[in-house]
């Protein structure tokens, strides 16, 4: 199936280039009689197209069909999760980005409120796209705990 899709893409790419080739041919063979040039144009156009198609079929068949191209996000790792969490926290205006570390406590080190912590957890929900229930959200007090929780929920091992 991927091969068929690729063939169609190659065909759509080949078509404008074919149009360019035929335009050049018409300019060059304008002096020659119409019927002869027309027939030769058609013949050359067809042969070119068939040659393109054969090449594309061959090249498409060479592509590895076993790699399925589903639409999905890249896999999560601890480092990517940590980077994204710290990036979102740096964007939050009540946090000083210089003082932020992976182990800084929201209430004790950064001086945030419980409602601020709720806002942070909501930002994490928006970032990673899954709901965090409040019973577990009230315990997440450092960025490292958030990373561990997301890794638990998303089955990220190392």
């Amino acid at each position: 199936m991927a091969a068929r899709v690729l063939m169609q893409c190659v065909r759509s790419v080949a078509r404008p280039s074919l149009r360019l080739c035929s335009v050049n041919l018409t300019v060059r063979t304008a002096a020659v009689s119409n019927t002869v040039s027309h027939r030769s144009l058609c013949f050359s156009g067809d042969s070119r197209r068939t040659r393109w198609l054969e090449q594309s079929r061959v090249s498409a068949a060479n592509i590895d069909v076993s790699c399925r191209l589903y639409g999905d996000l890249p896999p999560l790792t601890f480092d990517t999760i940590r980077d994204r969490v710290l990036y979102v926290l740096k964007l939050y205006d009540k946090i000083n980005p210089e003082k932020l570390q992976a182990s800084s406590h929201f209430m004790k080190d950064l001086g945030l409120d419980s409602l601020d912590q709720v806002e942070i957890i909501m930002a994490m929900e928006d970032e990673f796209g899954f709901e965090i229930p409040d019973a577990e959200a009230e315990k997440l007090m450092t960025p490292e705990e958030i990373v561990q929780y997301i890794a638990d929920k998303k089955d990220v091992y190392e």
Partner: protein
Amino acid sequence: MASTAATRAAAGAAKVVKPIFSRDLDEAKRRVRELYRAWYREVPNTVAMYQLDITTRQGRDKVRELFTKNKHVTDPRVIDMLVIKGKMELQETIHVWKQKTHIMRFFAESEEPRPTDFLSKFYKGHDP
């Protein structure tokens, strides 16, 4: 009169009262957080639906202000009552049973700074 005095004495002596929703302070705080989350997510929809002249950030600051106004409360039943009232407001806001004026009542009227130079005072008129 006598019955209310008796119930008050009984309540004072026992210190166990019938809860409204939550049995202890933690559960009440959890309800408060859930309500805050709902309001936080609702503010941009409100600003769009009612075509308010405030920014989303101003709306969220106002929500934060109203929540911190009742921050000192410790009785779980009082907290539950406030949460119930907040939920009623939220329902009315979501379903557009309110109008723009009802929502803007939360915001104090913005004062214009008094004019200082002669021409501004002249335009404003004589208002001693």
